[in-house]
């Protein structure tokens, strides 16, 4: 049985905008022929912003615009609704408009189902899979988080505008055609709050938003919609988005701290998957969570089925879940990138490096005749000092960067 508190699957779900459904190959070969997407990502840009400068690394491949594809922009209310329909077709019973209020336990204190907010709403189950998203009250009730893991500092809030523009205007501004789409991740551009921005192309809308670190957001004066307005007014962004009308405004939390905030994933009678288990990968150039949620959900389902067949749904009987996670990208990517979130949200990466990089590039390309071009090394040294970055910090961050991303 699949429980959903919204009126339909996807109605409560908001994200930046790009899904990577490769994991579905094994269940629904040729899923791309029916998945309700907006555009296939064929262009990925990473943009570094300072108040007046922008530097973009822009990558484009036509290969991602053809089967088997790579990523796509999609509306979650469409994508999740479609995916839930697939689960139903495969035999799951989807019950919508029903909120799980808490866990049921048997006499021995073992988790034995959930209580819902409908009359007569107790659901007795041998295994509960808590995939109730970032706020997971079920995982909290089961006491699976360690001390400090649910501190505000481990979360960011994403706030987004969906902006309508005619398809041909989007095609022209972003240099794409047909179903081709663009994914722009933005470092900087969030004012005094650490975080980042994003800009994605849908068919006839843009998704523009910011991801803002908690609790820092609450300790400064700019409100989220003002920070988005500043981002949209940036000289590098404004020509892409101006003139459009907001057709939807939304917000959602992100569990940002990766591996270090993951709760225990297994207990007697229960598994935790997706954002509920902080499996979202938020590491600067990557913002992926839907694929992690789908994969962990699949593995949780397989492990639960194995446990039921073997007649042992204790934590030991459910151990197949973490084995599968450990063997695949779900935990491997998180292990590899366990230091990345802290690094990406650090003040140096957020404010000092963007300024330094932008200044270096500006000077490299600035023509100051009759003076000859300065040496690259000298520019870097001067700009590093100007940005107030010590050599040791740079070395340490570079090392952390290599270990995280390398």
């Amino acid at each position: 049985m699949l429980l959903e508190r919204g009126p339909f699957a996807g109605s409560k779900n908001m994200y930046g905008g790009v899904v990577y459904p490769r994991i579905l190959d094994q269940f629904h070969p040729n899923w791309w022929e029916e998945v309700p997407i907006q555009r296939w990502i064929t262009r990925r840009s990473t943009m570094v912003l300072t108040a007046t400068q922008a530097m973009t690394v822009d990558f484009r491949t036509q290969a991602w615009g053809e089967p088997p594809y790579n990523g796509a922009t999609a509306y979650r209310p469409d994508f999740d609704h479609w995916l839930a329909g697939k689960a139903e077709a495969d035999g799951a019973v989807l019950v919508t408009s029903t909120t799980a209020l808490g866990l049921l336990r048997d006499e021995a204190g073992r988790i034995a189902g959930v209580r819902t907010d409908r009359p007569d709403g107790d659901i007795h189950a041998d295994v509960v899979i808590a995939c109730d998203g970032v706020n997971s009250f079920l995982a909290k009730e089961a006491d699976l988080f360690g001390p400090g893991q649910t501190e505000a500092g481990n979360y960011t809030v994403g706030v987004k505008e969906t902006i309508a523009l005619p398809k041909d205007v989007i095609d022209e501004r972003f240099g794409v055609r047909d179903r081709e789409g663009v994914d722009i991740e933005i470092l900087g551009g969030t004012g005094g709050v650490n975080g980042g921005g994003f800009l994605y192309t849908n068919l006839d809308t843009l998704a523009v938003g910011v991801v803002l670190k908690l609790p820092a957001l609450g300790a400064q004066p700019r409100r989220p919609e003002e920070i988005i307005a500043d981002l949209k007014a940036h000289a590098a962004i404004a020509p892409l988005v101006e003139g459009g009308t907001i057709v939807e405004y939304s917000a959602h939390l992100i569990p940002e701290a990766g591996r270090s905030m993951m709760p225990r994933l297994t207990t007697d009678g229960m598994l935790v998957a997706g954002d509920a288990a902080a499996m979202c990968l938020a590491a600067g150039i990557w913002l992926e969570g839907v694929n992690f949620a789908m994969a962990s959900g699949i593995y949780a389902g397989e492990a639960a089925a194995d446990a039921l067949r073997a007649g042992d749904t204790s934590a030991a009987g459910l151990a197949g879940y973490e084995r599968r996670l450990g063997d695949t990208f779900v935990l491997r990517d998180h292990e590899k990138l366990r230091r990345a979130p802290g690094l990406v949200l650090s003040d140096r990466v957020q404010h000092h490096y963007p300024q330094m990089i932008a200044n270096v590039v500006e000077r490299v390309f600035r023509v100051e005749n009759p003076r000859p071009k300065p040496g690259f090394r000298r520019i870097v040294r001067e700009e590093r000092k100007r940005a107030g970055i010590g050599l040791r910090d740079l070395a340490r961050d570079a090392w952390a960067g290599i270990r995280s991303f390398g």
């Binding site: 508190r5 919204g6 009126p7 996807g10 109605s11 409560k12 779900n13 908001m14 994200y15 509306y75 979650r76 209310p77 919508t96 408009s97 029903t98 909120t99 819902t116 907010d117 409908r118 970032v134 706020n135 505000a152 979360y155 809030v157 706030v159 987004k160 969906t162 849908n202 809308t205 998704a207 908690l214 609790p215 957001l217 609450g218 300790a219 400064q220 004066p221 700019r222 409100r223 989220p224 919609e225 307005a229 949209k232 007014a233 000289a235 404004a238 020509p239 988005v241 101006e242 003139g243 009308t245 907001i246 057709v247 939807e248 405004y249 939304s250 917000a251 959602h252 939390l253």
Partner: protein, 103 residues
């Protein structure tokens, strides 16, 4: 020729219009309750700036007025608020609350 950098063109939009683009099927029960008496002596007031839906409004007498209706159910408020007991946070009744379409 002089190139003048121009402000981008944005249609004026009030916060009410902005939040009006999102659909909320409001239930009669308030799913989030703020205990104003705890807020009176809170000096930090993180909720006011952090709530993306702008639902925490300071009053002249130092209190907080909270409206639950147009809430994203995101959870930011209970995370940023440091005061025990100020915010009682639950999800709305199944089928109610925010209903996204193009997110």
């Amino acid at each position: 020729m002089v190139l003048v950098s121009r402000r981008p063109e944005w249609p004026e939009i009030s916060f009410e219009e902005r939040i009006g683009t999102t659909r909320f099927d409001v239930h009669e029960r308030a799913h989030i309750v703020v205990d104003g008496s705890v807020c009176t002596d809170c000096s930090t007031r993180e909720c006011i700036v952090a709530c993306p839906a702008n639902l925490f409004v300071p009053t002249a007498d130092g209190g907080i007025v909270f409206n639950y209706e147009q809430c994203f159910e995101c959870g930011t408020c209970y995370l940023v608020c440091n005061r025990e007991g100020a915010i009682t946070w639950t999800y709305p009744e199944g089928g109610h609350g925010v209903v996204f379409a193009r997110t």
